[in-house]
Point group: C2
Chain length 338, copies 2
Amino acid sequence: MRGAVIHAPGDIRFESLDDPKILHPTDAIIRTAVTCVCGSDLWPYRGAEPTEDAHPMGHEYVGFVEEVGSEVTAVQPGQFVVGSFATSDNTCANCRNGFQSNCLRREFMSTCQADYVRIPNAQGTLVATDEVPGEELWPGLLAVSDVMGTGWWAADAAEVGPGSTAVVVGDGAVGLCAVIAAKEMGAERIIAMSRHESRQKLAREFGATDIVTERGDEGVERIKELTGGIGADSVLECVGTAQAMAQALHSARPGGNVGFVGVPHEVAIEGQELFFSHVGLRGGPAPVRRYLPDLIARVLDGRIDPGKVFDLTLPLERVADGYKAMDERTAIKALLKP
Amino acid sequence: MRGAVIHAPGDIRFESLDDPKILHPTDAIIRTAVTCVCGSDLWPYRGAEPTEDAHPMGHEYVGFVEEVGSEVTAVQPGQFVVGSFATSDNTCANCRNGFQSNCLRREFMSTCQADYVRIPNAQGTLVATDEVPGEELWPGLLAVSDVMGTGWWAADAAEVGPGSTAVVVGDGAVGLCAVIAAKEMGAERIIAMSRHESRQKLAREFGATDIVTERGDEGVERIKELTGGIGADSVLECVGTAQAMAQALHSARPGGNVGFVGVPHEVAIEGQELFFSHVGLRGGPAPVRRYLPDLIARVLDGRIDPGKVFDLTLPLERVADGYKAMDERTAIKALLKP
């Protein structure tokens, strides 16, 4: 088969690779239906994370089951499946508590920009659809495997509720999906912080009621103006920088909540400031598996269409162009078709 | 009247002071029934906070209404009242959201170790009992005005629920009251971290099922052993030091919650560590006013007896001895009788 391999920052190659094999009785092999490039793939691409040895890339996937290990009974060859970027047995204490992305047997996916993929912990990770969905639904289901699941988690962690006001910090694919989530959870006012016209447009389409283009203290000031002077009930931090976190914490009202889903890079939170703010804070890698059945159903019945975050579609062999377009911000998110 | 005045670290004097007067139509004057010394009063006493000019002390009180301003209709002269260390109008947006200790008109109490006290925002701050309660109930009601309200908030912020496992970090009066709160909220296992025999005994009396005497990494290890290897559902941090916060964060299970109610002193939380832990974090000055009606009822009907944290009773004029005993840890908390 063939797949994407990073050799060094900026150097993504589409290469011949060994076909994946069942290594453990809990594995499954899937044939990729569609896959994509994630914002987090840009860290090694930009050299913000080191690449010591060349290695495959990709952690988002939907596909057809090719083969299952002897302990996998939940899915069968031929079925169309959606999984999470973090695999989970879905039986350990952390999984039972709903934090499957902290499964005691967790393995993060990392080889999905390829024709075939081995899925560890397949029994607890993969969710099959009743029928093979139409191709027009594949992008939405692919989004569910990471960015939509992560946006949902941001809204969940920020305790978005009916009638509430939510602020979304970050206008990448996750931030845009977070707008969808806030809307689905009943937020009446959804303020998207974005400076990019095409992303503002999609945010509005997804349910944003207000756009704030200012950043930093000015952005916070604008949020306060829009929220009766006290701040928002829920803030969904979908970036991971110190600036984004500060903006999020200062935009929440006393007693409000910040859900943070961008992996924090050099972020430290001052204890006394957090204390006097009364703001609740929760983040982490999204427990996508918890949300899969629900989110798959919402995509299949057309209630949400997170597939719209893919504004560039390429054949899988042009994966390097997908990285380039996202790095240069000419695309929000690149869909890859094997 | 007379009251306590701090002149310098270690120098508390009981002095003649002007009687308090109604300054605003929203004020009330109360005659102190009982008051006490708080763990946080020890910061200036120990020089951990500066004392530039001599000033009165004390923020915990129950008493009899003497006089009310023209806008105060909720309480009448002669009534026995309980309030919070943070005054609130109970009508602003933050109050309506349940965060009265972040009231837009908040004033922190600071003159309560005295015969008479002026209560700002009296209408929204004071709660009167139906009848004057028996003197044996005054210590419990006094505890409600701060330490019991704060312990309750710790359990609430840590989302203690029926059947859960809770860890309490800190065995001061707040930590001990946090044990009561965890028990009332239905925690099945309550682990108190304490090295002091008398405090362990009271913790057990209040509902602690386990005592952990180890601290730091060893303490965390012991908590993990007691919680199936993953940590506790809820951790109530009632100290405020960096060590206590680290111990709290590391003792919570993935997806668990830390409620932190000790004012943080030189505490910074590392973003990526918090992220991968999945732990939710919320703290702040307790919104005691939110809990007052409920906690007063629990004390009056004998369901809880937080007054037991007072293991030293002194006449108000011996207030300096109360500070000394608490500073030397020969008393958990000193009750003062005018």
